[in-house]
Symmetry: C2
Subunit: 171 residues, 2 copies
């Protein structure tokens, strides 16, 4: 009778097959190259890294162009600490401003300034073009669909709070 591999840590590691390795390497290469590419594109054209651009986008899409810090951090999938630093820098650039939350004195809103909105509008075309050229223009519609499904699955699996992943008795 075999022991069920409850604690994989101790068991023989489930190595990747050759094919899985090829997939994984391609993943690493593509994501590294792409993130670098977009970072450079945006840094050069808009003067900010890709993540910061993403923050402005989230704000622009939000009612009254504002979001609570924690909310923004969740949407952008970054830590609150990282966001604090990022917003500090975006504030210095004049693209975001902070506002106190009236209902919760601990709370802060990050608000997209007009200048921030302007920067976004000005550089959005160049950015989507870069994304298109790097990704969508190269993939068939089926591949695009597939990519969406796959990334959705992976993202969901890693979503912080994994709904009690380490608290199995709560499931």
């Amino acid at each position: 009778m075999k022991t069920a591999p409850e604690s994989a840590r101790a068991d023989a590691p489930r190595w990747l097959t050759d094919e899985e390795q090829r997939v994984w390497r391609s993943y690493i290469e593509a994501t590294t190259l792409l993130e670098d590419h977009l970072d450079r594109q945006l840094q050069r054209d808009a003067g900010m890294p890709h993540v910061y651009y993403g923050l402005l986008v989230k704000l622009a899409e939000s009612p009254r162009r504002r979001l609570r810090m924690t909310e923004l951090a969740k949407l952008a999938k970054i830590t609150r600490s990282r966001l604090s630093h990022a917003v500090a820098r975006l504030e210095k650039s004049g693209w975001v401003r902070r506002e106190d939350c009236p209902s919760d004195k601990r709370g802060q809103f990050a608000v997209l300034t007009d200048e921030g909105y302007e920067v976004l509008s000005r550089h959005a075309p160049g950015h989507v073009e870069a994304v298109r050229q790097a990704v969508f223009d190269r993939l068939t519609p089926e591949q695009q669909k597939s990519l969406g499904e796959i990334m959705r699955i992976v993202a969901e699996g890693l979503e912080p709070s994994e709904a009690g992943a380490d608290l199995p008795w709560l499931r």
Copy 2:
């Protein structure tokens, strides 16, 4: 007769459709969460970020466990500058050592030390397990195959030197 959109910069931006946007957002979320996840896992367990782990892997796979700096940088898809700093840190940790290249006095080899190899062996199981849980365990074989193809295409499209992308007369 319509003008061909040769210089997309000036034309109406080719915005992403709603579906394309969803795909793109999922991509961003998945890659952000995954890279963070693996960084934390490796930082906690092995004391180094994911990229550095990748460097050790490349070295371990190479003959005599060594690579020229430029070669390693190319394989890992990072700049030589970044690599210089990274190797300096890995040297400090005792996992890599530099060696002069006899045939080219400008050249340097990065060599994986025994200690480096040991660290790698020790933490590889935990790392593949993390990759499995986050990615392969969640995808069907078809999805895995599809992911490989897609990432290969994207990576190739971004490969530095794009084989004369800006030298169209050479194509």
